[in-house]
C-alpha cells in the first residue's frame, strides 16, 4: 500500500460509497436489461421469424360521419406515401365506373345473378398464378380473381342454409359466368373466367389492362382517382406506419398493424425503463461526485501538502480516480453478470412460449455498458482532477 493512499483514504465514507455502488449498479442494470429485453422480445413481433408475416397493407381514407369528404387520393398524397421510408412500392386500386351485372350458371342455365363491381391493382400485387392474368383488347373473356373468403361465405353460409352444393376452387373455375357491362349508353356481354383466389385483396379483381379499357369505354368522363391503395412495405411492424396512418387520418387493416403497435409499445416501454435507469445512473453519479468532493474537502490539507512537497496534480488525483474507476468497473462487471443471470431466467419463459425465436447476442448491451462506464469514469476523473487543481491554485 503506497503512502499516498494511506494518507488519502482517510475520511473515505464506506456508507457513501456503498450508496453510490448500489445506486449505480441498479441504474446500470436497468439500462442494460431494458436494452437486452427489447432486443430479445422484438423478433417475436417482427416478421423475420414468420409469426406475423404481411408485406402488404391496404390503405384507405377514413370515412367521415357524413360521408361527404373526398375519399380519393390525390397525386400529391400518393407521392407522399411513396416517399415514406417504410414504403417499398405502391399500387392504386382502380374501381369500375360503370355498372356491372353478373350471372353464373351451369351449362348455360343462369341460376345466380347479382349486381357487382370490379377493381384492379397493378399486376405485380396479384398473389396468384398470373399465367392467365391478361386481357386482350377486343376479346370477350375477362379473367377474374375472387377473394378466398367469398368462397368461404358461399360454402359455409349461403350453400349450407339453402342446401346447395359446396363448391371447390376448381369447380368454381369451371362455372360459366356472364358479365354485363353498362355505361355511356352502351352495353356489352362478356364471359368471365375465375382464374384464381386471393387472400391478400378483399375485392373482385380484373386485370389492370381490362380496367383501363372498360373505364374508357363505358365511363370516359369519370374521375378515376384511387380510393384505396395497396402498399408493399419493408417491415409491416414498423411503428412509423402506425404513426403515419394516424397523422393522415387513414384506415388500415387493424390486424396487420397490431404487431407494429406492439413493437412500438415495446419500444416506448423499453425507452421509458431505460430513461429511468439512466436517471438512476445519473443520480448515483452525483452521489459519487458529492462523496468525492466531500472527501477532497476533508483531505484538502493533505492534498495541498502533497502538492507542496513536489507531488504532481496527476499523482495526487490518481488514487481517487482509480477508486472511482475501480468502483465503476466493478459495477459494470456485476451489472453484466446480473444481466446474464436475469436474461437466462426470462429467456426460458420466452422459449417456452415461442420455441422458434432466435437467440440474440448480448454484445450491444455489453457495448452500452462499456460506453456508460467510460462516460461516467471520464467525468469522474475530470471532476477529481479539477478539484485537485483548485487546491493547487489555493
Amino acid at each position: 500500500m503506497t503512502l499516498i493512499w494511506k494518507l488519502l483514504r482517510q475520511h473515505i465514507s464506506a456508507l457513501q460509497l456503498l450508496g453510490f455502488f448500489v445506486a449505480n449498479l441498479l441504474g446500470m442494470l436497468i439500462v442494460l436489461l431494458a436494452l437486452q429485453f427489447y432486443r430479445d422480445v422484438r423478433p417475436i413481433f417482427s416478421q423475420e421469424d414468420g409469426i406475423i408475416n404481411n408485406d402488404y397493407l391496404i390503405l384507405s381514407k377514413r370515412i367521415s360521419t357524413m360521408g361527404l369528404a373526398s375519399t380519393s387520393f390525390s397525386e400529391r398524397e400518393l407521392d407522399d406515401i411513396r416517399s415514406q421510408s417504410f414504403t417499398k412500392s405502391i399500387g392504386a386500386f382502380t374501381a369500375s365506373q360503370y355498372k356491372v351485372a353478373c350471372s353464373m350458371g351451369i351449362e348455360g342455365v343462369a341460376n345466380f345473378g347479382t349486381q357487382m363491381y370490379f377493381e384492379s391493382v397493378p399486376d405485380q400485387f396479384v398473389d396468384t398464378d398470373r399465367s392467365q392474368w391478361h386481357y386482350q383488347e377486343g376479346s370477350d373473356l375477362v379473367p377474374i380473381i375472387l377473394p378466398r373468403s367469398y368462397l368461404a361465405i358461399y360454402n359455409f353460409g349461403f350453400a349450407q342454409s339453402r342446401s346447395l352444393p359446396k363448391l371447390s376452387e376448381s369447380v368454381i373455375s369451371m362455372l360459366d359466368m356472364v358479365v354485363v357491362l353498362r355505361g355511356n349508353g352502351q352495353e356489352r356481354r362478356m364471359r368471365g373466367k375465375i382464374v384464381g383466389f386471393t387472400n391478400r385483396l378483399q375485392t373482385i379483381l380484373v386485370p389492370e389492362s381490362f380496367m383501363k379499357w372498360s373505364n374508357s369505354q363505358f365511363a370516359p368522363e369519370s374521375d378515376t382517382a384511387p380510393t384505396r391503395l395497396i402498399v408493399e412495405v419493408n417491415n409491416p411492424t414498423d411503428e412509423r406506419i402506425t404513426q403515419y396512418v394516424q397523422e393522415h387520418g387513414l384506415d388500415i387493416d387493424e390486424d396487420k398493424l397490431k404487431a407494429g403497435k406492439t413493437t412500438y409499445f415495446l419500444k416506448v416501454m423499453s425507452g421509458i425503463v431505460m430513461g429511468v435507469g439512466l436517471l438512476i445512473s445519473a443520480l448515483s453519479f452525483f452521489i459519487l461526485m458529492l462523496s468525492i468532493y466531500l472527501l477532497v474537502q476533508k483531505n484538502t490539507q493533505k492534498l495541498q501538502n502533497l502538492l507542496l512537497i513536489g507531488y504532481s496534480p496527476l499523482r495526487v488525483s490518481l488514487p481517487y480516480q482509480l477508486l472511482t474507476i475501480g468502483m465503476n468497473a466493478l459495477v459494470l462487471v456485476l451489472a453484466l453478470g446480473l444481466l446474464w443471470w436475469l436474461r437466462g431466467y426470462y429467456m426460458n419463459l420466452l422459449w417456452a412460449m415461442f420455441p422458434t425465436i432466435q437467440e440474440t447476442s448480448m454484445w450491444p448491451a455489453l457495448a452500452l455498458g462499456v460506453v456508460l462506464f467510460l462516460i461516467v469514469s471520464v467525468l469522474n476523473a475530470i471532476a477529481v482532477r479539477r478539484k485537485v487543481m483548485a487546491i493547487w491554485h489555493g
Partner: protein, 214 residues
C-alpha cells in the same frame, strides 16, 4: 538554478505602508547558489510570505522575482512540480507533516518521489538527531521539537539548488540545533546549494555569507 533575484518585491498587503524599511522588500537582492543567508525578521514582517513567494504557492506580491532571470510568474504547474522535486526545498515553519503517518513514513513519502537517499542514510540521521526510537511512532504522538527534526530530514531527501528553512530550530535545544545545522550544511555543501535561513530570534549560529534584515 544558480540565482534567485528579487527586484523591488514586496507583499501586496504592504502596499500602503510608507514606513517600510527592509533589506529585502523593495530592494534588489540576489541569492547565489552555494552561499548561506540569514534573513532576520520581527514577526509580521512577511517572513513566511517570502518563503511562499519563492516556493510558488502564493503570488500576492508586487515587483519581480526571477530564477536565473526567468520571471517565476510565468512558470507552469509542471515547472513548479519539477522545481520542488529537483531544485528547491523548503522546510516550513508550520512543518506541513502528515500526522497520520509515522516519522519514517513522513520522510519516505518525499524520498520515494525523488529516490534520492538510501533508507540507511535516513536511519543514520534519525540516530544522529536522537529520535531513532521514534522512527515508527505516529507523528501525532511526537513533540514539536521532534517533528522539526523530521521535517528537516524530509527537506533534505531531494536534490536542490536552494534550501529554505523557515524557523528551523524554534523548539530545539542548542545541542540538537547544532546537530541539525551540521546535517543540513553537510548536505547543502555536498550539493553546492544555497541556503536561506529565516529566524525571528533564536537562530543557528553559523558562518553566514550575508545577513539580511527583513
Amino acid at each position: 538554478m544558480n540565482t534567485i533575484r528579487l527586484e523591488h518585491t514586496f507583499p501586496e498587503v504592504f502596499a500602503n505602508r510608507s514606513d517600510l524599511s527592509s533589506e529585502v522588500w523593495q530592494q534588489d537582492i540576489t541569492f547565489q547558489k552555494g552561499h548561506l543567508y540569514l534573513v532576520e525578521a520581527s514577526s509580521g514582517t512577511g517572513k513566511s510570505s517570502l518563503c511562499s513567494f519563492l516556493y510558488g504557492y502564493r503570488h500576492d506580491y508586487q515587483g519581480i522575482i526571477t530564477f536565473d532571470g526567468q520571471n517565476i510568474r510565468n512558470l507552469k504547474v509542471a515547472d513548479w512540480t519539477r522545481l520542488r522535486q529537483r531544485h528547491l526545498s523548503l522546510m516550513w515553519q508550520e512543518l506541513r507533516l502528515f500526522p497520520e503517518l509515522t516519522a519514517m513514513e513522513n520522510v519516505l513519502i518525499k524520498n520515494r518521489l525523488t529516490g534520492f537517499k538510501a533508507k540507511k542514510d535516513i536511519r543514520r540521521w534519525f540516530d544522529e538527531l536522537g529520535i531513532a526510537d521514534k522512527e515508527n511512532a505516529r507523528l501525532g504522538q511526537m513533540s514539536f521539537g521532534q517533528q522539526q527534526r523530521v521535517a528537516m530530514m524530509r527537506a533534505l531527501v531531494q536534490p536542490f539548488d536552494f534550501l529554505m528553512v523557515d524557523e528551523p530550530i524554534s523548539h530545539l535545544d542548542d545541542q540538537n540545533a547544532r546537530t541539525m545545522a551540521d546535517i543540513m550544511m553537510e548536505e547543502a555543501t555536498r550539493q553546492g546549494a544555497g541556503v536561506i535561513v529565516t529566524s525571528i530570534g533564536k537562530h543557528i549560529d553559523m558562518n553566514y555569507d550575508q545577513i539580511l534584515k527583513l
